[in-house]
């Protein structure tokens, strides 16, 4: 729940999603759901030479389970709020 709420706050920001197959996609975060599935707009694959078949893809839906990392914009992270939310979540179960 914590990260679902967090990613909802991040909608509209620029993120880089790295998948478990090593594909990395940068784009504007359009939406996110409870499974942390992610929709990106205006996407660009980081290593286009390696994945030429992805060059024409501009919007995509990414299944949450294939995500390895999401690189976050530094201005989109308030670590104090997140830290408090973690404590609350750990207490409340």
């Amino acid at each position: 729940m914590l990260f679902f709420s967090y990613f909802k706050e991040l909608v509209g920001k620029q993120v880089t999603v790295e998948l478990k197959n090593d594909l990395a996609i940068t784009g504007k975060l359009h939406s996110v759901d409870q499974y942390l599935n992610i929709k990106l707009e205006n996407t660009r694959v980081v290593d286009e030479e390696k994945y030429p078949h992805m060059m024409s893809v501009r919007n995509c839906f990414i299944r949450g389970s294939v995500v390895r990392y999401v690189q976050l914009p530094p201005d989109g992270v308030d670590i104090e709020i997140l830290h408090d939310a973690t404590r609350r979540e750990a207490r409340g179960g």
Partner: protein, 85 residues
């Protein structure tokens, strides 16, 4: 806090470590071990076997990321900072 993650837990040929460069870095996590880490260094170690000589070739690549969300299903172990003094 040190963190070791891999895309495939049985595939030790690719081992990634993500660790905040300062141990005081605060983080956030949930019950799945999803987490957000700040000022991160990722260290990826790959081991390849040379086809002819059967020698192990170990390669390490490092990069830094300011803020990183790590999905919990790839996490293998989390190591808290050592208690000093």
């Amino acid at each position: 806090m040190d963190m070791i993650a891999s895309c495939n837990p049985t595939d030790l040929a690719r081992l990634g470590q993500v660790r905040p460069r300062h141990e005081s870095t605060k983080g956030a996590y949930d019950q799945h071990l999803n987490m957000i880490l700040g000022d991160v260094e990722e260290i990826v170690t790959t081991v390849e076997i040379d086809d002819e000589t059967y020698e192990e070739i170990v390669r390490t690549t490092r990069r830094t990321v300011p803020f990183l969300f790590v999905r919990g299903d790839g996490v293998i172990l989390v190591s808290p900072p050592l208690r000093t003094a």
